[in-house]
């Protein structure tokens, strides 16, 4: 799967990239590579943000006290 990195990791890498670019001390080819990576991360993050669907489960103690996830129906 492409989504091996979490949103947080992507965001933190993005932050790092932007700071690097803003220093402006990189050769153009390196800057362009970083810019491309950053653009990719921005797309990924936006996609994760927009496509996320809330998951809600109810936890139940199953066999050997192991947690079991059950669908949750809002009882209100």
């Amino acid at each position: 799967m492409a989504e091996t990195k979490s949103f947080e990791q992507k965001l933190s890498r993005l932050d790092e990239i932007v700071r690097h670019l803003e220093k402006g001390d990189l050769p153009l080819s390196d800057s362009l590579a970083l810019f491309e990576e950053g653009t990719g991360l921005l797309t990924d993050c936006s996609k994760m943000l927009e496509e996320a669907e809330q998951k809600v489960v109810k936890l139940r103690k199953g066999a050997d006290r192991q947690p079991e996830e059950l669908p949750f129906e809002d009882e209100t």
Partner: protein
């Protein structure tokens, strides 16, 4: 009749002294409902006690207010202890309150204050022990009643703000004798199986008794022992429970807990947009600065117009050639002068010049110069060369003579 007029101060002072003399007013116990409760920055508390027909101004100075074992609030029925006196400046009388006792909740209040003091002393509220909340929780354990507005509000707000967080509900009872062990047990269970990276526990508002589970020592200790950060979210804004003190973060309501727990999607969109703008600007800046460098290079004519460069090189070449030719010329002219001199010298030595002085050169029939009489015999034909012509001659007689020249002299 002449009457002595009193000053206002004199009158108020007289009333004050009369009231101060009345022992009944110095040790009062008054029941009433609190209204207009205000805590001033000075630490003094001001409020009004009222019943259906009347009201009484009250003040509780800081040194007494700090001893309060509950938070007095509007609408609360209390018994106030103190004395009534006159406030000279305003000419009003007020109850100077030394203690307040809430009606009814007395036992619980005492228990609350005792537990709070005990746990505080043990260091359970130590700010240094509080764990930071994850910035982007992946899984949030919600420990509360599965019925009721609280869980509903939290799910809704968490979903609006940050749908990426998975919510894991651990339904528990939040009131009654079963509530404290269930809440504490759920917190321990969440830790044991690492079901989440953040816990929210709490319930909606209610009476002091309703919220009591969150003042339970077992719940407090379970929160303290949790390795997963805990947000306590009990009741409404003014309600403060033991769980609020011991949790890593206190939320004023369950909805507020949802706001604290996760970032906001809309704000994150702005953040991402900010990164996009910043990286674009950084690239543009770099490209612009490279462009300027390129421009300054381009302004050197070699790159704007290669022909000019070549022309210049051609001109250089021409100049080299000129220099080369000039050098050659100088060299040649030197040689020429030498040649002229040599020519003159040669001319001086030319046999023709000798001949012009009256000498002739003799050559045999083979054209060889005859240098000696021994080389000729009578009857030979000789060609005599004069400076202005030649003549054929016949040798009639050969006679050897003394040799001229310097050789003999050596």
């Amino acid at each position: 009749m002449e009457r002595q007029a009193l000053s206002v101060t004199e009158l108020n002072s007289y009333i004050k002294s009369r009231m101060d003399e009345d022992p009944r007013l110095l040790d009062l116990c008054v029941r009433g409902e609190i209204s207009n409760y205000k805590v001033y920055p000075s630490g003094h508390h001001y409020f009004t006690l009222k019943d259906a027909e009347s009201s009484l101004k009250c003040v509780m100075f800081k040194y007494n207010a700090v001893k309060l074992r509950f938070r007095p609030d509007n609408g609360m029925c209390v018994t106030a202890f103190g004395r009534v006196g006159v406030y000279l400046r305003d000419g009003v009388y007020q109850l100077t309150c030394s203690a307040l006792m809430p009606e009814g909740a007395g036992d619980l209040q005492v228990a609350f204050e005792q537990l709070k003091a005990k746990l505080s002393q043990e260091g359970l509220f130590d700010p240094a022990r509080k764990k930071p909340l994850p910035a982007f929780p992946k899984r949030i354990a919600i420990i509360t009643s599965s019925a009721g507005a609280a869980v509903h509000d939290m799910i809704r707000i968490l979903g609006q703000r940050w749908p990426m967080s998975k919510l894991i509900l651990l339904p528990v009872r939040v009131q009654g004798v079963e509530a404290p062990p269930e809440i504490a047990g759920a917190i321990r269970y969440a830790n044991e199986f690492q079901v989440a990276d953040l816990i929210i526990t709490g319930r909606g508002g209610g009476s002091l008794e309703d919220l009591w589970a969150f003042n339970d020592e077992r719940v407090a200790r379970a929160i303290y022992a949790s390795r997963i950060p805990v947000i306590s979210a009990v009741g409404h804004e003014p309600d403060v429970c033991i769980s609020d003190y011991v949790a890593d973060r206190r939320a004023s309501t369950p909805s507020n807990a949802a706001e604290i727990a996760v970032p906001d999607k809309n704000e994150m969109r702005d953040t991402l947009e900010g990164y996009a703008i910043r990286s674009r600007q950084a690239m543009e800046k770099q490209l612009k600065s490279l462009g300027q460098r390129l421009e300054s290079l381009r302004s050197k004519r070699v790159l704007t117009d290669p022909e000019v460069y070549l022309d210049n090189r051609r001109m250089d070449l021409d100049r080299f050639r000129d220099r080369l030719l000039a050098a050659q010329e100088r060299q040649l002219s030197g040689k020429r002068q030498r040649f002229v001199k040599l020519g003159a010298a040669l001319d001086a030595m030319s046999p023709l010049r000798v001949l012009s002085r009256g000498y002739t050169v003799s050559m045999n029939s083979r054209g060889e110069t005859v240098k000696s009489v021994r080389d000729i015999s009578a009857g030979d034909r000789l060609r005599l060369r004069f400076s202005d012509g030649q003549a054929e001659c016949l040798v009639e007689h050969v006679e050897e003579g003394e040799e001229h020249g310097g050789n003999k002299e050596f």
